[in-house]
Amino acid sequence: MSITSKRASVDKRRNLSVGSFILLALGAFVFLFPFYYMLIGSLQTSPDTSVGGAFPEPGNITGENYVNINGSINLFKGLVNSGIFTGGVILATVVFGLLVGYALAQMQFRGRGVVFAMMLLVQMIPFQLLLIPLYVMIVRDYGLGDNYLGMILPFAINSTAVFVFRQYFMQLPSTLFEAARIDGASELRILWQVAIPLVRPAIVTAILLTFIGPWNEFLWPFLVTKDQSLQPLAVSLANYISNIAATASNPFGAILAGACVLAAPAVALFIFFQRQFISTNLGSSVKG
């Protein structure tokens, strides 16, 4: 009796796993198909929206859309601008985030609780409320419109990344740092030579987390940059979609070609570093 019931439960589990598998495969199709379609569409000479058009057709393949979109918006310049914007945010986040993360986790100083509370509260501030005052301050008062600094400033230090750093530094035994201090190492040297080498995975996780924001951000750089030569690719592609596309001979081909160029670096990065972007890393950062 007990054996049969156990076997039944094993069978049930196996059924469950087959059911789960079908469900997951269906989900994966829904999630990945648009990306596949993006690539196919970007290579078509004339857009084929029939069901057959979803399969590659040798006669209808061309690289011309990439040339066309590159003629309207400078793809390389756009990628460089996106890179400077994203790189600036990542650099500021890693440098200042490691400093404050280490201080919050392993140093005792007056006001530590206040800084920690600030870090938590900041994540609740909705960006839409800051939109107008930040625009007034950065573009009108400081004259930082059409400037990389103006683009980077509101995103400069990612608070979630600071949290990730703090969590990782907290996991290190405080005795390690006491010992280094007894040896007479300065705090900066302890951070650089003892703490940072021990939290390398945290740095990768924080870079990935931070990357998503500025690379994909549209609204803020769209407001700040009017000069086309300074626009990140997301902004110039959006301007192409809303203004210029209507005049192109194969607008969707060109849009999809631009979309592929914009999507490729992020997708490649996250596939390559997928181990660092797992639930446990993220979970600890949002759960608190």
Partner: protein, 345 residues
């Protein structure tokens, strides 16, 4: 004072030899207080001779935190107050350095905002958006995370394929959605005669639901990751004992999984709501500026339109304040609905 320094001096001879091994080998956790005491009274270091430390043991921590604190105060806290200030004054854009009079106007901007039918329509729109997006997000991400937690093969492939839309720029994937959902796009040619007319994004009834569907698809991967973390905290024994007791998979799902991830559900609901309130790129690009006839415009899109295009930052700031207060109220209600039940059971 003199007594303390005397004890410090007397320690000078006794304390130096024992610190040798202590500093060399990493001290164990139990010895830590002793180590700290020695540190405090060791001679030869000026900062250690201090007896009174008003800034804490490592005042340098203040310096380490300073850039971040300045960033928060300058770029987040100050603008937050500034937004509220702007919303109560008549405010114009000026060139840098130009001083103009900005009179206090009380709640006039708020009256302008709330009496504008376009604004009211946009709030109704995001309400429609949330009614579709939030339950769909919570449900689908929990079901997919649960299934993902059950399988062993191809787990990485599925996990990665779910978060690919999340890490990709909205501007890029909107390009494909436009292509898929246009009048004679793939979706409509698959549907044949069932295709809606006018098509999805230009249909005033379907535009907002399509945007909601798009955002659900785009964000789902992130929420699946959150649920995966929460699912790992549910002990496997609960499922085993439930299946011995004859509970089928639905019983297990409703009685073990759903209550087990309740705190994650609260978070997912809250984040999905905030995403909905922040809607801008989608109405701007997917439906060409909140079309048709404002049927898919959002408050943030109107903030851009009224504040920056039409030069009324005061009205836009008031709209922002109203929006944030609205989200706060919705979040509190959701918290009661989703989180409060754990107390009853």
């Amino acid at each position: 004072m003199s007594l303390r320094s005397a004890s410090g001096a007397s320690r000078r001879d006794g304390a130096v030899p024992p610190t040798g091994p202590e500093a060399g080998a990493p001290p164990s956790a139990g010895k830590q207080p002793a180590g700290r005491k020695t540190l405090r009274r060791r001679p030869g270091r000026p900062e250690i001779k201090q007896k009174f430390r008003p800034l804490g043991k490592q005042p340098l921590g203040l310096l380490f935190s300073a850039p971040y604190v300045i960033f928060i105060l300058g770029v987040l806290a100050y603008p937050l107050g500034y937004a509220v200030w702007i919303s109560f004054h008549q405010f114009y854009f000026t060139a840098p350095g130009v001083q103009v009079d900005r009179p206090f106007v009380g709640i006039a901007n708020y009256i302008t905002v709330l009496s504008d039918p376009v604004v009211r329509r946009s709030f109704l729109n995001i309400l429609v958006f949330m009614v579709i997006n939030v339950p769909l997000t919570v449900g689908l991400s929990l079901i997919l995370a649960n299934a993902l937690n059950r399988i062993t093969r191809l787990k990485t492939f599925f996990r990665v394929s779910y978060y690919v839309p999340y890490v990709t720029a909205s501007v890029a994937v909107i390009g494909v959605w436009l292509f898929l959902f246009q009048q004679n796009g793939l979706i409509n040619s698959l549907l044949g005669v069932l295709a809606p007319n006018p098509s999805w994004l230009v249909n005033s009834w379907l535009a907002m639901p399509t945007v909601a569907l798009y955002v659900t698809w785009k964000q789902l991967g992130f929420f699946i990751l959150l649920y995966l973390a929460a699912l790992q905290n549910i002990p496997e024994e609960l499922y085993e004992s439930a299946s011995v007791d004859g509970g089928n998979k639905w019983v297990q799902f409703w009685n073990i999984t759903v209550p087990g991830v309740r705190s994650a559900s609260v978070l997912v609901t809250l984040l999905a709501t905030i995403t909905g309130a922040n809607l801008f790129t989608e109405p701007y690009l997917l439906t060409g500026g909140g079309g048709p006839d404002g049927a898919s415009s959002s408050p943030v899109f109107l903030m851009y339109q009224k504040g920056i295009l039409q030069g009324n930052p005061d009205v836009a700031a008031a709209l922002g304040v109203v929006l944030v207060l609205g989200v706060l109220v919705i979040a509190l209600i959701q918290n009661r609905l989703v989180g409060g039940r754990s107390g009853e059971e």
